[in-house]
C-alpha cells in the first residue's frame, strides 16, 4: 500500500465556475456545433442541462498531428463522450461524472513514478507528457457493459512515456493509480470499490504501439469526467482498463492488483481483453450497442485490433486468462 502524502494543491478551494469560464464553454460548444442543443436543454427543462453547460471547466485547444489510426467509423458525438461516463469516484450513475467531476483540481498535477526503473520520482504533468508532440488516435472504445463509442483521442504513445523512466529488466508489469481526494470526489465515501482505483498492464502490453496515454479528445484538453489531465487508453481491452486521472505509475515484477479484479475476480480478469466468445456472467459480450445507434452490432475480437495485438497472447488460453 502506498501511503499518500497530502499534495499542496489539495488545499486549493474547489473550483467555482466563473462567468468567464461559462462563456468560454458556451463558445466552445458553439464551435462544436452543439450549442443549439444546449439552449434547447436550457429552455426545455431549467437546471437539467447544467451538467453540460455550466459545470464543465474551460479547456484549451491542443496542437496535434493528425492520425493514421482511424477505424473509419462514425465518431461518437462530443456531447455523448463527455456526458455518459463511468467514473465511480464521482458516483455510479452515468451522468454523475459530468455533474460532479468539475470539483476535481487538475492543475497543478503531479505524477509519482516508482518501482523498477532508473528515473523514478515526482513529475509535473508537463515532464511526463510532451505537449509539442501530441498525436490523434481515433479508437473504438468498448465498455464491459456492452456499449461502445468511437473517440478521437489526443495524446502520446504510452511506450514513449514509460521509456522516459527507464524501466529495468525486473519491470514485468506496470500499475497505475487514480487520484483520490475525498473532498473533491464524493463517490470515495462509498465503498463501491477498494479505493484508490488501480489498474495495470503487462509490460509488453504497455509497450505496444496501440497503447496510448491521452490528454485530450476532439482537439481539446480532456474534461475531468473523461479522466483529466491524463488517462490510459487501451483500445483492445474493456474500457475500465483505461484508468483515468493518473497520479502514480509503478513498475513491478509481479502481476499488480487491479480494482475490478479485486472486487469480483470471477467477472473481471486482469487482462480483460475484448473477446466476444468469453462471456461475462451478467452480460453477453458477443454484441454491443454503439452509442447513438439503435441496433446492437457484433463485438469484434480484441475490439477489432486482433491483427495488431493477437501476438501478445499467443499460446494463452483466453477463456482462462480473461
Amino acid at each position: 500500500m502506498l501511503i499518500k502524502k497530502p499534495h499542496a494543491w489539495q488545499m486549493a478551494e474547489n473550483e467555482v465556475t466563473s462567468e468567464a469560464h461559462y462563456k468560454n464553454r458556451r463558445q466552445f460548444l458553439r464551435a462544436m456545433g452543439i450549442a443549439a442543443t444546449g439552449s434547447v436543454a436550457v429552455t426545455g427543462f431549467p437546471g437539467m442541462a447544467l451538467g453540460l453547460t455550466a459545470k464543465a471547466k474551460a479547456v484549451r485547444d491542443l496542437d496535434y498531428k493528425t492520425t493514421e489510426y482511424d477505424p473509419g467509423e462514425d465518431q461518437t458525438s462530443f456531447q455523448a463522450v463527455t456526458s455518459y461516463n463511468n467514473f465511480y469516484e464521482f458516483g455510479t450513475a452515468k451522468s454523475d461524472p459530468a455533474d460532479y467531476a468539475h470539483e476535481m483540481t487538475t492543475d497543478p498535477w503531479s505524477i509519482t513514478v516508482e518501482g523498477h526503473c532508473g528515473n523514478g520520482g515526482q513529475f509535473a504533468l508537463e515532464d511526463v507528457i510532451d505537449f509539442s508532440s501530441l498525436e490523434e488516435r481515433i479508437y473504438r472504445h468498448r465498455c464491459v457493459e456492452a456499449w461502445s463509442m468511437v473517440i478521437p483521442w489526443l495524446g502520446v504513445p504510452l511506450a514513449s512515456v514509460l521509456q522516459k523512466f527507464g524501466p529495468t529488466a525486473e519491470a514485468k508489469y506496470v500499475q497505475f493509480e487514480t487520484y483520490a481526494n475525498r473532498d473533491e470526489m464524493w463517490g470515495l465515501s462509498r465503498p463501491v470499490l477498494n479505493w484508490p482505483y488501480v489498474e495495470g498492464l503487462r509490460m509488453d502490453e504497455a509497450m505496444h504501439p496501440l497503447a496510448f496515454m491521452s490528454v485530450g479528445l476532439y482537439g481539446k484538453e480532456l474534461l475531468n469526467q473523461n479522466g483529466a489531465p491524463l488517462r490510459l487508453v487501451v483500445p483492445w481491452k474493456y474500457g475500465f482498463k483505461g484508468i483515468k486521472s493518473i497520479i502514480a505509475i509503478r513498475f513491478v515484477s509481479d502481476m499488480p492488483r487491479t480494482s475490478w479484479n479485486e472486487s469480483n475476480a470471477r467477472e473481471y480478469g486482469f487482462y480483460s481483453n475484448v473477446n466476444p466468445s468469453v462471456q461475462h456472467p451478467r452480460w453477453s459480450q458477443s454484441t454491443e450497442r454503439r452509442i447513438g445507434e439503435f441496433f446492437r452490432r457484433d463485438t469484434l475480437m480484441f475490439n477489432g485490433y486482433e491483427e495488431e495485438v493477437a501476438s501478445l497472447y499467443r499460446g494463452m488460453d483466453l477463456s482462462r486468462y480473461f
Binding site: 452543439i34 443549439a36 442543443t37 444546449g38 434547447v40 436543454a41 426545455g44 427543462f45 437539467m48 442541462a49 451538467g51 453540460l52 461518437t76 458525438s77 456531447q79 455523448a80 456526458s83 455518459y84 465511480y88 455510479t92 452515468k94 451522468s95 457493459e145 456499449w147 462509498r190 465503498p191 463501491v192 470499490l193 472486487s263 462471456q279 456472467p281 451478467r282 452480460w283 453477453s284 458477443s286 454484441t287 450497442r289 452509442i291 447513438g292 439503435f294 441496433f295 446492437r296
Partner: protein, 242 residues
C-alpha cells in the same frame, strides 16, 4: 390485544408520529372521496414515471441527452425496472399502513398500485425485449438461462403475472377469498426476488440495493405479529373444537 396496541404505536411512530392519523381524521375520507378524488390523483401520479421517459426521449431526439443520457435504451430499461420495484414495495406497504385507523382507506388503492407495479414490470421487460435485444429470441433465451440476475427477474415476472390476472372482484369471488389470499401471498416471494435481481445486477458494492433490501425486510417483518396472532387464534380454535 396489548400486543396489537403496541404494534400500532410502533407504526404510528414510524410514520412520523401520527401525522398520517391527524391528516386522515382531518380529511375524514369517505370511500366516495377516495374513489372520486384520491384514486384518480394517484393514478395520474403513478403515470408520471412513464411520462418522464417519454419526455426524456423527446429531449433526446431534440439533441439533449441530459435526461435519458447518451444511452436512452439502458436508461429506459433501468428506470422502468426501478419503478416496478418501487411500486411493488408501495403495494406491500399498503396493508401495514392501513392498520392505522385513519389510513384504512389506503386499502381502496391497493389493487391499483399493484397493477401499476405489474404495468411497469411489463414495460421493463418489454423494453428489454424490444429496445435492448430487438426480439433476438436466441439471445434472450441465452440470457434467461445463463445470466442469473435475468433468471431471477424472469421468475419474479412469472410470479407477478397470476396476481395481476386475478386482481378483479370477480376473480376473488371465483377463487374464494382464502385461496385468493394464498395465491397473492406470492407477492412476498416476488419482493424478495426483485431485490436479488437488483442486487445481482449492480456492479461493485453499492448502497441502493441495500436500502431496498432493508425496506422489503421491514415490510415483511411488519407482518409477523399479525401472522403470529392469526396462527395462535387458529390453533386455539382447533384446540377448542377437539
Amino acid at each position: 390485544m396489548a400486543m396489537r396496541k403496541k404494534w400500532h404505536r410502533f407504526i404510528g411512530a414510524w410514520t412520523s408520529a401520527g401525522i398520517f392519523r391527524d391528516l386522515g381524521l382531518a380529511m375524514s375520507l369517505s370511500p366516495r372521496v377516495v374513489r372520486k378524488i384520491i384514486k384518480p390523483t394517484v393514478f395520474i401520479l403513478m403515470l408520471l414515471p412513464l411520462a418522464w421517459v417519454f419526455y426524456g426521449w423527446w429531449l433526446y431526439i431534440m439533441g439533449d441527452l441530459s435526461l435519458v443520457t447518451a444511452n436512452p435504451i439502458e436508461y429506459t430499461n433501468r428506470h422502468l425496472g426501478d419503478w416496478a420495484m418501487r411500486f411493488l414495495l408501495v403495494t406491500l406497504a399498503v396493508r401495514p399502513l392501513s392498520r392505522i385507523k385513519s389510513l384504512v382507506w389506503l386499502m381502496q388503492l391497493r389493487r391499483m398500485v399493484g397493477l401499476f407495479c405489474f404495468f411497469y414490470a411489463f414495460l421493463h421487460v418489454s423494453s428489454y425485449v424490444v429496445l435492448d435485444q430487438f426480439f433476438d429470441w436466441p439471445e434472450i433465451l441465452d440470457d434467461i438461462l445463463k445470466r442469473q440476475f435475468i433468471t431471477v427477474g424472469m421468475i419474479t415476472l412469472t410470479l407477478l403475472t397470476p396476481l395481476a390476472m386475478t386482481s378483479t372482484k370477480a376473480m376473488i369471488k371465483r377463487l374464494g377469498s382464502l385461496r385468493w389470499q394464498k395465491l397473492h401471498s406470492l407477492i412476498y416471494l416476488a419482493s424478495v426476488l426483485v431485490i436479488f435481481h437488483y442486487w445481482m445486477m449492480v456492479k461493485g458494492n453499492q448502497l441502493e440495493p441495500k436500502i431496498y433490501a432493508f425496506i422489503v425486510a421491514a415490510l415483511l417483518l411488519s407482518r409477523l405479529p399479525q401472522r403470529v396472532k392469526k396462527r395462535s387464534k387458529l390453533a386455539q380454535e382447533k384446540a377448542g373444537l377437539q
